[in-house]
């Protein structure tokens, strides 16, 4: 359902974007059409739609002659309203699930699951498939008892109920949220043949909430207040230091996700949204924002989420997620269906703004073809791309490469490895490669394999 709505929005957006161009084309087409009509009527040259061409690719396919029978759904009544007061996907979709790798973490309370990107369409992740990352399990918090405090270097410390927050002007925006460890298992080489494992530590949803700048201004930041230390109300009481520039740029405190209240896994009743930045900064179960003059140097910004370089030094405060992209179809969960036409689809995103171009290579990066967008192109959000490919059945190496509106071009893996080595867990945002096995290759013909340069 959500997917359908998004598709519709995508089409509408595409239409409005093309309106200027289309109006122009319409003018010229009207003339051409008129001419064509006259010509066709007089000489029947077949210049317009050619029905023979349309059916030509079916020429070699065997016709089905067996009489179609009604299925069970046609022979009996379906179930009535309110069988599921909160709707569920069809049982035939039961394999579309968040999944985890048991060897990643020693328990399920400080763990992670990945979103099944290979099964998603459009740019919205359904709430039930949003990836999970907890540091101390999921609390079930009564919103009536939950409070948000803003204190520290402010003119007037304030406390807010959830109802107070909803009285403020609201903002709804679609953003991706990505764990900086997304792709971390593949610094030293490939090991996982699914886009769920290689890129699934992220999701993209519509958030609704109140601008953080509105709340901070409400409390009145003192001139020496330069940093925020947001903190969660869960067992992990997670903290990160956020510079005032990022807080005042486009952060907000969200209470809703895809039109309904946040799910507990994503921070119910409220979470911080820090568009484009590492997901660990998006503090869930937000209960306190301390305004300070310096960063706190807490565990999740010193011991963790810092990046060990090959010379033993480490990067810290790597806030922004780099532009990144991946082909979701075909990807290792699929198999090619024989030589012919394919519409390569995938996702591109950038923590620094809008996606500008996505290019796809079929030959390991030698030559590139620009893809077009089939979704709205939004700031710090997934963007769905598609490009036509005529597969001749020979071995191919598929890669996608994003360029964002800041002009940054996604690098190939050897270049990133050269720079950052392989000991760094986080921000592995270089291109990945899907090897399409030649169609005439025995049992593995048409297989799609995750390989790494």
């Amino acid at each position: 359902m959500t997917d359908k709505i998004v598709e519709k929005v995508a089409v509408q957006t595409e239409e409005s974007r093309n309106q200027g161009r289309r109006a122009f084309l319409k003018g010229s087409a009207a003339v051409a059409g008129g001419v064509m009509f006259t010509k066709a009527a007089s000489a029947a040259e077949g210049a317009g739609f050619d029905p023979k061409k349309a059916v030509a690719p079916y020429a070699g396919k065997e016709e089905i002659t067996e009489v179609l029978q009604d299925g069970a759904a046609r022979k009996s009544l379906g179930f009535g309203v309110r069988k599921y007061p909160y709707g569920m996907p069809s049982p035939f979709e039961k394999e579309v699930q968040r999944r985890t790798l048991e060897w990643l973490t020693p328990d399920s309370m400080a763990s992670i699951t990945m979103t099944p990107l290979q099964s998603l369409h459009g740019i919205i992740t359904p709430n039930g498939l949003h990836f999970e990352r907890f540091h101390g399990g999921v609390p079930t918090i009564n919103p009536e008892e939950h409070r948000l405090v803003i204190h520290g270097l402010v003119e007037r410390p304030l406390i807010f109920t959830m109802d107070d927050l909803k009285r403020f002007p609201s903002v709804s925006r679609i953003h991706f949220v990505e764990c900086p460890a997304n792709g971390a298992m593949e610094w030293k080489g490939v090991q996982l043949n699914s886009v769920q494992w290689t890129h699934g530590m992220m999701s993209c949803v519509e958030y609704t909430g109140v601008r953080l700048s509105d709340l901070l201004k409400e409390a009145g930041i003192k001139p020496e207040g330069k940093w925020l230390i947001p903190e969660g109300a869960d067992a992990a009481a997670l903290t990160r230091s956020i510079p005032m520039e990022i807080a005042m740029d486009d952060c907000f405190v969200a209470y809703a996700q895809n039109g309904e209240a946040l799910r507990r896994e994503q921070g119910y009743p409220i979470r911080l949204v820090v568009p484009g930045c590492e997901a660990n900064m998006w503090i869930k179960y937000l209960r306190r924002i301390q305004v300070t003059d310096t960063p706190a140097q807490h565990r999740e910004e010193t011991s963790k989420y810092t990046e060990l370089m090959p010379d033993g030094t480490a990067q810290r405060f790597s806030w922004y997620m780099e532009p990144n992209s991946v082909i979701t179809y075909p990807s290792p969960d699929f198999k090619m269906e024989g030589p012919g036409k394919y519409y390569i689809r995938g996702l591109a995103w950038s923590g620094r703004g809008k996606v500008k171009h996505v290019d796809v290579s079929f030959d390991g990066g030698k030559n590139w073809k620009e893809a077009h967008f089939t979704s709205p192109v939004l700031d710090k959000a997934w963007t769905r791309f598609e490009v036509e490919w005529e597969w001749d059945g020979s071995e191919a190496f598929l890669m996608s490469r994003v360029t964002d509106e800041t002009g940054y071009v996604q690098p190939p893996m050897p270049q990133m490895r050269q720079l950052e080595g392989t000991n760094n867990v986080y921000h592995r945002t270089a291109m990945v490669t899907w090897r399409v096995h030649a169609w005439e290759n025995g049992k593995s013909g048409g297989m799609i394999e995750n390989v790494q340069y």
Binding site: N193, P243, E245, R288, T313, F317, N367, G407, L419
Partner: protein, 357 residues
């Protein structure tokens, strides 16, 4: 200006990686000149250059126009980025705790003009703002009593120096509440992280396992450890009153001792009968082994042009133009993928191939 130690590290890095990084960028002719150009010589009109380029501040041509052609590429560009005056630097020209930790802050680079424009619109220049009054005022003391348990890198928020216990007593508390998961001597257990492992942070080859990062060899601040364990440990009942500030300080003392963190420049170590308090913690805080080796986000030092056809070998396949030289996921004899085998055999702690989610 900025920390000498860090500059030195970056310079070593630059020379180590100079060859390959420059080859990648195709600008190998002037590799020797890079050091001179990055020394504070940035285009003063960088804002105008970015504006003229429609705000594309990370476009390779814009970066070259602002930083100079040789200054910006690969690991070599790092040395320049440590200079806070560099418009692309995340570094801040200050030192919070007297220099032991070098530069403790980072910032959004000046070249990220759209962020700064947005901050001006939402905050700095928003003179029309009128508070709505939907919140309720609360006394700072009401927050401090229970909720605010934050201790920062400078030790603000630590318990009174009279609170504490001996390192030996701390070890007993540790063994009772922490040892079952982290090992009696901090060596790790049941897949949970070790807290005291002597290991170099430099692996000699890309194929070696990534180094284990623990309190002793990696953490830049000792106070972070106290803040973290009091905030989140023991895992099943965090911030436990039966441990209390004295107990959390005792555990901290034991782990500092296990990691041989000294109290002063002479290397004075914690003895079993040392009464460990916030005062000693602040001494340890100044002598963490890895403290000077952190620097702010250096990305993106990679800035490629968007090539569409017949791209250069550096950008194709294995980085040398060969598209058939790739790594595959290997299979075990039973057909399962050969990934993270030590983790799956419970020989190594769980983790993304590097212990430590």
């Amino acid at each position: 200006m900025f920390s000498t130690k860090k500059t030195l590290v970056a310079a070593t890095v630059a020379s180590l990686f100079a060859g390959s990084a420059m080859a990648m960028s195709g600008g190998s002719d002037n590799s020797g000149a890079a050091g001179e150009k990055i020394d504070g010589k940035y285009a003063a009109n960088f804002e105008q250059i970015i504006k003229d380029a429609n705000g594309e501040y990370l476009d390779s041509k814009v970066i070259e126009a602002i930083l100079g052609k040789d200054a910006a590429y690969g690991r070599e560009g790092l040395a320049g980025k440590l200079d806070p005056a560099n418009p692309y630097s995340f570094e801040v020209d200050d030192s919070i705790d007297g220099g032991n930790h070098g530069n403790a802050q980072c910032k959004v680079p000046l070249a990220f003009t759209e962020v700064h424009d947005s901050v001006k619109a939402n905050y700095t220049n928003d003179s029309d703002f009128v508070a709505r009054g939907f919140g309720t005022p609360i006394a700072e003391s009401a927050v401090q009593a229970k909720w605010n348990i934050t201790v920062d890198g400078d030790g603000r928020g630590l318990p009174d120096p009279s609170v504490g216990m001996t390192v030996e007593e701390g070890a007993k508390v540790y063994v009772q509440y922490c040892g079952m998961c982290h090992g009696e001597f901090g060596e790790g257990a049941k897949g949970y992280l070790p807290l005291a492992v002597e290991e170099s942070l430099i692996a000699s080859s890309f194929d070696e396992p990534a180094p284990m990062k623990t309190v002793g060899n990696y953490w830049p601040y000792a106070v972070t450890f106290f803040d973290y364990i009091r905030r989140t440990m023991p895992f099943w009942t965090p911030n436990a009153p039966y441990i209390g500030d004295a107990g959390y300080l005792g555990i901290t003392g034991y782990i500092m001792q296990s990691n041989y963190i000294p109290l002063d420049a002479e290397g004075t170590e914690l003895e079993d009968d040392t009464f460990y308090t916030s005062e000693l913690l602040m001494k340890n805080n100044k002598f963490m082994k890895n403290q000077g080796n952190f620097f702010c986000d250096h990305r993106p030092v990679i800035h490629n042009a968007r090539c569409m056809e017949n791209c250069a070998d550096e950008q194709v396949g294995d980085g040398k133009g060969n598209i058939h030289n790739y790594k595959q996921a290997r299979l075990l004899p039973d057909g399962t993928p050969q990934y993270n085998v030590p983790q799956r055999m419970h020989e190594d702690p769980p983790g993304v191939g590097h212990a430590g989610m």
